[in-house]
Symmetry: C2
Subunit: 333 residues, 2 copies
DNA sequence: AGCGGTACCGTGAGCGCTCACGAGAGCGGT
DNA sequence: ACCGCTCTCGTGAGCGCTCACGGTACCGCT
């Protein structure tokens, strides 16, 4: 599985000790900058250690002084800017705790996720991230490991999760559109697990609160291309649409491109509002209006919750587990 | 430093063994799905393990069967799409080897990089990434650990590095511009370590090969805003400029924005060519012409080289350590 | 009864390191 | 000469786990 093979035995602390004519403990002292050691001996030990190519075993060290924590961060696709930002937030929070973060990119494949969880269980102290496997399977694979899910509903008490509260944000978005005179608003939903997404439910609620019909929906892959295709389909099926709300910014950007390609001016001919508030949205033309949330906080909260689970700290306040959203007006709507 | 404190002793394999009325070995067999164990005993052991909340120590396990490798990936800013892609490449290559990747984001601060390297030395088997500290300091902090630098020149034999060969790509870019009639071409260089970058040297060489003057240069921070500011400055100092080549795509995108803001049409009034070939470049308006390289391969090669260093494999061919570039024509030039 | 074989399970050792302790040397003070 | 103390270094134990053994029970067969 790895490097060892039948190669030469690794250089241990005892080898160094013997070569330098001292005891293990003295070598340890030299390497860890502890006191209780003469300067000349220290230098001699350090030299021989270097000469022998000695490198302490992190396992042996970790075994005795149990002071390092590492979390596994599992995400479907690091190249998706949304997950990148989540990861960045997690890394930052981990750094504050001097935790180590082992990152796994599953490529959005269930099989990879399974394999990752399998191997992760024996490598980290907690798991954090976007998991898509069924709960019972996750439970089985992680065997008691603390698990923090991000943006996912779950039934069992077995897991924690960080939630996104998009209700008010989506509401504000739809209200904004109606105030601009839009009556026929469509949505590009994400195609996950056949059932409609939570974001779609927020859309439904907001639409009916405004007395509008929310049935103009198309499904999109979570990619720019997916957004392009889906907008084409949506406009084909419901030609009267003057505005779209999308599952996320990536899809919205696809919609922007498709709109341009079909000769529509945004927002004049078609208003577009995304979801996530990615930085990327400021770079496209026109800059994307979006229901923004603090993505980095999403990752940060996840590791903080993992920390609580690990130390057995009390249950957190609900708002420590949810991030709120707000409408961020730019130029696409 | 971490969770332990004076908390209750952790549950060990012996605790489980005692509670289940069996030996350690039997517990081990149950947990690792080895044979030589009765089904009923196995179930009983598994149950008590779950009940006690037992989780095997990765250190103890790693110590005895030394079969897990992990690399530390150090990058200045995960949110910079370039580094994101490099990281993705590294993750993928690591997955192929079933290695673990511990990611550290230094935020481009020397102090963080130092702290990271310090802690990394006792946590991983090799270090890979973008390091900006002086060589001797890196050497001191990593103490014999295999280190693979990306896109950085180095003097000592102590390190390996993955190089970018931008010469032909930049040449093609400049040639493309001259063939389009441009005579006055500027560059937005990155402001690192006061000396001009290697990319700037390629620019110099390509310009003089075309018989042009390469002195119109401004320095930019490695961000969109940095690119905006720098283009303003460049156009202020050299008003005759009709085309710019930039240190990277991020800066180029800033240039695009600044051009639009100042009422210039790209590429009609100003041609822009970036460097890196980020996906992001396809999303901006107009799509960015760029000197493209395989960023993900950059990361992948780095971990592959780390693997060679770890196994003491022979020296690689030179082209296994460099990635080439090519001009990718889109619409900004 | 005796034998080999199979299915289970336990025992010692050891992975490489650090921690708590103790030991010796040297030195000054009384 | 004695005690104290400081500085330096070594020794046993143990972190939690797996591996290579060795042992017991029970089966069927000659």
């Amino acid at each position: 599985m790895a490097s060892s093979g039948t190669g030469p035995r690794r250089v241990t602390i005892d080898d160094v000790a013997q070569a330098a004519g001292v005891s293990r403990q003295t070598v340890s002292r030299a390497l860890n900058d502890k006191g209780e050691i003469g300067v000349s001996t220290k230098q001699r030990v350090l030299d021989t250690a270097l000469a022998l190519g000695y490198r302490p075993s992190r396992f042996a060290r970790g075994l005795v002084r149990q002071d390092t924590v590492s979390v596994g961060l599992v995400i479907p696709d690091l190249l998706n800017p949304f997950f990148t930002e989540v990861a960045a937030g997690a890394l930052e929070a981990a750094r504050d705790r001097s935790w180590h973060v082992v990152v796994y990119d599953t490529g959005d494949r269930a099989e990879e996720e399974r394999a990752t969880l399998e191997v992760i269980a024996s490598q980290v102290d907690a798991v954090v991230g976007y998991l898509s496997l069924p709960e019972d399977e996750i439970d089985k694979l992680t065997r008691g490991l603390p698990v923090v899910l991000i943006d996912r509903e779950h039934r069992t008490q077995r897991f924690s999760s960080i939630r996104i509260d998009g209700e008010s944000g989506v509401h504000a978005a739809i209200r904004h559109l109606t105030e601009a005179g839009h009556r026929h608003i469509g949505m590009l939903d994400h195609a996950e697990r056949s059932e409609p997404s939570i974001r779609h439910r927020w859309f439904d609620a907001a639409m009916s609160a405004c007395g509008l019909d929310a049935s103009s929906v198309a499904r999109a892959d979570q990619s720019v291309e997916g957004g392009e295709d889906a907008l084409q389909e949506l406009l084909g099926r419901y030609p009267g649409i003057t505005a779209v709300f999308t599952f996320n910014d990536i899809i919205a950007i696809g919609a922007l491109r498709a709109a341009r390609r079909t000769g529509r001016q945004v927002p004049r001919d078609l208003a577009v509002i995304g979801f996530d508030g990615l930085r990327l949205g400021t770079l496209v033309e026109p800059p994307l209006t979006t229901v923004a949330l603090d993505t980095r906080r999403l990752g940060a909260l996840a590791v903080e919750q993992a920390a609580r689970l690990l130390t057995g700290g009390g249950p957190p306040h609900a708002d420590e587990l949810t991030v709120r959203t707000e409408l961020r007006l730019r130029e696409s709507a």
